[in-house]
């Protein structure tokens, strides 16, 4: 019943770590299916051979002898192409396994309330919220503001209405106060670009 249960906090850290990484379930399933299909074929041939029946596709003996004599018996271009396809598939699997695979998400409210719920936000939601704030500060229409949120950077692009100057500092201050209120982790740095050419008739 106590708020500071020992088991809770490390589990929450683990959950947050898993939520901000992309899942490999689909790739893992594809890999498993590939291995299952190959193993099932091998099982079929081994079983057929064990009971002394003729092979289904190729006699294992013949297959092995062909493998031993490999550069001969097949056009080198075809052999190279098969190799390239296999290597490409292998590279895809390997990179899927090794790369960090971060999702475009931020943790929110780090240290706000340790006992409360943990919060994870998609970068897209952050961007649309910041765009709204920047639009109100610059007094322009939604089409004139574009916000890009990446892991460590927030870039706000504003195209002012022609003849109405936009105060870059006030936009920066507004966006920065919003970002500070969100308490994102990792905390991004805010940059505001005001375009030199204006929009007519907005």
């Amino acid at each position: 019943m106590s708020r500071d249960g020992e088991g809770q906090s490390p589990d929450m850290d683990r959950i947050l770590r898993r939520e901000t990484r992309s899942t490999r379930a689909a790739v893992a399933t594809a890999a498993a299916v590939l291995v299952i299909v190959l193993a099932a074929y091998g099982l079929l041939e081994a079983g057929v051979h064990a009971v002394g029946q003729p092979a289904w596709l190729i006699e294992p003996q013949v297959a092995a002898e062909r493998l031993v004599a490999l550069p001969a018996g097949i056009p080198p271009l075809l052999l190279g192409a098969i190799g390239a396809v296999l290597a490409m598939a292998g590279l895809v699997f390997l990179l899927n396994g090794v790369l960090p695979g971060r999702r475009a998400r931020h943790r929110m409210g780090a240290g706000r309330d340790a006992a409360g719920p943990a919060v994870v936000v998609d970068d897209e939601v952050i961007a649309s919220s910041l765009a709204r704030r920047a639009r109100l500060a610059a007094n322009v229409t939604p089409e004139q503001v574009m916000v890009v949120v990446s892991r460590r950077q927030v870039v706000v692009n504003v195209r002012p209405t022609s003849g109405v100057p936009v105060n870059q500092d006030s936009v920066l201050a507004a966006v920065r106060s919003e970002v500070d209120a969100m308490a994102l982790d990792p905390s991004p740095e805010v940059r505001v670009n005001v375009a030199t050419s204006g929009v007519i008739g907005a």
Binding site: I82, G109, V121, V125
Partner: protein, 203 residues
Amino acid sequence: MNSTPTLLNRILVAALGLLLLGVGCLLMLLAAVPAVASWWRAWSADAWSGINAAFNATRFPGRPESWLWILVALALLVLIGLMVAWVAQQGKGRADVLAVEYDPGEVPGDVRIGGGVAEQALKHALAHRPDLAGATVTTYDVKGMPALKVRLLPRQGVAPHLLADEVSVLVSALEQAVGKNIPVLIHIGAGARTRFRRAERVR
């Protein structure tokens, strides 16, 4: 949040990738470099004669077949079983009980609160908010402990920190009602439903 074995996935996928990459590179080298071809012939002929000897030594008495084939078939069966078990681990971890507690009162028995209670209550509380395009609540089993995942789809321009604070209040009210602390994850996301609807104007 589910109990997909992420580390195992990474290791097995990377191992398969390395294997395929190695075989692919070997085939490409065989096709392109003559020196590799001659090395391969020498090496593989040795290996093949070794395997042949093993098969010859393990024949059934009086029959031409080797019992090594049965071993190979068994090994492949085990491999298939392991792969099926691996696939079955993906995306597991949904739970349907939120709290189990022994009731020390007069009535014998214990108390169980299903995950549906939290899911229905939170969903109902969130259903009529104008700033949300959708909300889902699911109960997961995280290392034997029930945990809630609240997925919110706010409309464009909604400030996520204010939304999170308001949902936190709802969650703590739920915890009061259930009488137990539940680890909760709030995921504020974007999807096709939020992207193509107009922004919320008044809030």
